[in-house]
Amino acid sequence: MTGFLTLLEKELLRFWKVAFQTIAAPVLTALLYLLVFAHALEARVAVFEGVRYTAFLVPGLAMMSMLQNAFANSSSSLIQSKVTGNIVFVLLPPLSYREFFAAYVSAAILRGLAVGAGVLAATAPVAGVAIAHPLWSAAFALAGCAVLGAMGVIAGIWADKIDELAAFQNFVIMPLTFLAGVFYSIRSLPEFWQKASHLNPFFYMIDGFRYGFLGAADVDPFVSLGVVAVFFVVLCAGALALLRSGYKLRS
């Protein structure tokens, strides 16, 4: 347990030492999104009846920021350690692959939650957001960050170079989060794109998280949580199998 706690502490301190970049910057980005989109769309778009567009937008922005930063935390830590060679410091000790995985994913969750709290603190006063079902929001925040943390572990192990990881981030993570209904309800989409959105696991994370705030969602939150849980289990199994085999870490 000490090994796991130490690796977790190291991972937390790693992003905390550059909190300006890892927490403050994504909070500012989310705030800018809110200001621009609220100004452009507040009076023109009604997503759910009786819900202001900004109140709809804020939970989506918060969740998108959480997901992106949870992914960035585990993936960037691993790729940096691999590229600089200091990954050896966590490969030489008697850490099990489960401890290794748990520490990286836990740190990713905590970074995601810190960013989410920051985004909500910065945007909620502007948008006047209330939380209808806090436990639902907390469950989706936790599950979403865990999924992206696990995905970051896989990407960090797989990538050999920083630009490979950047490609994964820009061509997979960014489109999936942007097209997951952060800025719109999928009900407003043509039928084909509505169906396509249901294949995007990020959609369920954002929709479920938003349900906790608004008490309204595109999909039943139990279904969303089930989808996210299955996705998490699959990613965990994949990441643990990679770590156990030593893929790209132990030759």
Binding site: G3, T6, L7, E9, K10, T84, G85, L92, P94, S96
Partner: protein, 306 residues
């Protein structure tokens, strides 16, 4: 008594490259052991398998009786490895780096030993400095401290003095010798053969993934009985001494032009016959030195012949 390190039939391939080819080795507890070989001989692969950084295709490796795969937790707790590459985590200070490394080995309250290790490696003054700000030599010391932070009974140093200045090398060897005197088993790879000769009680030499020599250092040198006579003479080297002439690649022409020759003899008694041949050839001796073989000589001969 259980061997500190026991390697049996170890083989490892990387694609078509056979990095290790059926290596058997045993290092006794408390030994100061040298692992020598040219670049690409398999030294680092061997150390990587011991440390769990690489997995063997065939064979077993044990640290104090614990298999490095099946009992990896026990094996890794007993082993401290100083990697060859000068790696560091740029986010942290020296003290943070050592505390984390200690924690990975499940030692939470280890500050007294961490301070002691820093003191012995002259790192105390830099304890709160970021790793990025340290010189190469200081970073090397931190790597050594990281390997010692869990007080491993077996310590593997993979070329720890590469690119390190003379003062640090001396300080480092004093510290490592002290650890050895306290009972730690030391396994060393180095390109500085005079270091291996001075420090290591036994030596294994690797070439193309195979052990080509494995003996006590003194016996290894003794086995190469030859002595050498280095001469600077006036005149031509008599034909009678041609058979004793030791080729010195690259310096033959220059050496001959300057009248400098290296002759091989088997015993001191043969010095007289060399002198007699020189007298008979009418050569005046300007300088003469009898040279005993050292480990470097032995190393070169083994690598050329086996």
């Amino acid at each position: 008594m259980t061997e500190a390190i026991e390697i049996r039939g170890l083989s490892k391939r990387y694609g078509t490259l056979r990095a290790l080819d059926g290596v058997d080795l045993a290092v006794a507890q408390g030994e100061f052991f040298g692992l020598l070989g040219p670049n690409g001989a398999g030294k680092t692969t061997l150390i990587s398998i011991l440390a769990g950084l690489a997995r063997p295709d065939v064979g077993t490796a044990r640290v104090l009786g614990h298999d490095v795969l099946a009992e990896y937790r026990a094996a890794r707790r007993l082993l401290g490895v100083v990697p060859q590459e000068l790696v560091f985590d740029p986010f942290f200070t020296v003290r943070e780096t050592l505390r984390f490394q200690s924690g990975y080995f499940e030692l939470r309250r280890n500050d007294v030993w961490i301070e002691e290790v820093m003191h012995h490696l002259d790192l105390t003054g830099k304890a709160d400095a970021n790793m990025r700000s340290l010189s190469g030599g200081m970073k090397r010391r931190v790597l050594i401290a990281q390997a010692l932070v869990h007080r491993p009974p077996v310590i593997v140093l993979d070329e720890p003095t590469a690119g390190v200045d003379v003062e640090l090398r001396h300080g480092l060897w004093q510290f490592v010798q002290r650890l050895n005197a306290e009972g730690h088993t030391i396994v060393l790879t180095t390109h500085y053969l005079e270091e291996a000769e001075a420090l290591c009680g036994r030596i294994a030499m690797l070439k193309q993934g195979r052990v080509v020599a494995f003996d006590r250092t003194a016996d290894l040198i003794r086995r190469f009985q030859a002595l050498y006579v280095r001469l600077r003479i006036e005149g031509q080297l008599p034909d009678a001494l041609d058979a004793r002439l030791v080729p010195q690649p690259g310096i033959d022409a220059v050496g001959a032009a300057a009248g400098v020759f290296l002759l091989q003899i088997q015993h001191y008694a043969e010095v007289e016959s060399v002198l007699a041949a020189l007298r008979a050839g009418g050569c005046a001796i300007l300088e003469m030195e009898i040279v005993q073989p050292d480990l470097e000589e032995v190393f070169v001969q083994i690598m050329q012949t086996r």
